[in-house]
Symmetry: C2
Subunit: 223 residues, 2 copies
DNA sequence: AGCAAAACGGATACTGTCAATCCGCTTTTG
DNA sequence: CAAAAGCGGATTGACAGTATCCGTTTTGCT
């Protein structure tokens, strides 16, 4: 066993390389469609490969997941940056919220990662840490422009996202666009209005405790 | 075994009667607090009784559940009738929505029954059938008074309820009142506003398909 | 071609969670 | 006090997923 940890110790055998690729593609597809609850058996079968092969390439499920999602989150961060740069603060805020929900709807694995009990994964909390200050900035600017109700805070954004997850799941097969309707309603609900309105019943969660909610909103359940 | 199905075939032994009562109380308490996913083992233990005793009194879990919930739903129906009778249509509508959410929050078993995969239970669909026309009436009157946005329909009410379920679960231990904040936001979102606003992205589900969503919003797995 | 190492496949073991049963022991009651 | 009624909880069974093991196949090298 020469230099176990050095760079590219030896090229993968042809069949191994092919299978590894197939597994990654199958995992990508099934995770997107069915969320993280897609089992490794399903993935192996979908890839036309035995379970053993999956485990040979990826010691465990988390390892497979981690590798697969780096760039998907990059997209989220990029869109968030775009939203922060939007000259119209309200448009920036709402299009970020909408994008984030669409992302969850089109990729159920992302939804599970954003909300489920996987928050512990190093990668996810790093993403959250980058997103949070941008959310605060979006909220600050929309407040300043008088378009966002003053009693809505940055901590409300992730909770609103979290609420969409279960609805996305529930309506996915029946009416895949339905979640938009209720997100629209929520967005109307946070928009400033000229008249005085009764205050909200209860304050938002402290920003640093929002994660604890997200963890609990898991909707991990499948056929 | 004389007259198995006739009235009071024979009095329960004293200890049996006491245990039966304890089981009912424990089930009531635990179902309320933890939802239908409370296991019969938990209930037995909480009642200070063996599992066997639970099964002797109640052939299976559904039987225990069914008996326990008749009157809880009666309360829901009664409140709904009150809301329909409210001279202020908007106040009637919102207080019904709020009550229904509070009921879910204070009794997680009701939440599970309203949304989970238990819709099949005869009793639940009967309740739904009674509630639906009342919801339509509330919406019709709030529309007529110009307080409810015209593009909100009766089919939206159960979906809004369904959305609250997962949030209630997620925040139950952390901040048991949090769900109110987001229900307030949704209520603001369905309130009529003087200005023209962009239409909602997508129409509501047909009223007779709403159940199919409710079934999927379960946070508790089915029997 | 021939052979050893690498990789494969999928049956199988293991894990965890619950519902539900069984039977030797305890309590009640007449 | 003895038989009937009831009890407790270990145990079984079902199920769904993760992970391992090992006999067989493929590959790469000479």
């Amino acid at each position: 066993m020469p230099h176990a940890s050095s760079e590219s110790p030896r090229p993968l055998r042809r069949d191994a390389a092919r299978n590894r690729q197939r597994i990654l593609e199958a995992a990508d597809e099934l995770f997107r469609r069915r969320g993280l609850s897609a089992s490794l058996n399903d993935i192996a079968h979908y890839a036309g490969v035995g379970v053993g092969t999956v485990y040979r390439h990826f010691p465990d499920k988390d390892q497979l997941v981690e590798g697969l999602f780096e760039q998907r989150f990059e997209e989220l961060v990029r869109r968030m940056e775009e939203a922060v740069a939007d000259p119209d603060a309200w448009h920036g805020l709402t299009s970020f919220i909408r994008f984030s929900t669409e992302l969850q709807a089109s990729d159920h694995a992302i939804k599970d990662l954003l909300t489920g009990g996987h928050v512990g994964l190093e990668r996810i909390s790093r993403i959250r840490a980058r997103l949070m200050p941008m959310g605060e900035e979006l909220v600050r600017r929309a407040h300043a422009d008088g378009q966002l109700r003053q009693d809505i805070e940055a901590a409300d954004l992730p909770v609103i996202q979290a609420m969409m997850g279960p609805l996305i799941d529930a309506s996915a097969e029946l009416d895949p666009d339905l979640h938009r309707r209720y997100l629209d309603i929520m967005i109307r609900g946070i928009a400033a209005r000229p008249e005085q309105e009764p205050p909200l019943s209860t304050p938002p969660l402290a920003l640093d405790r929002v994660d604890e909610i997200m963890v609990n909103v898991s909707s991990a359940r499948r056929r």
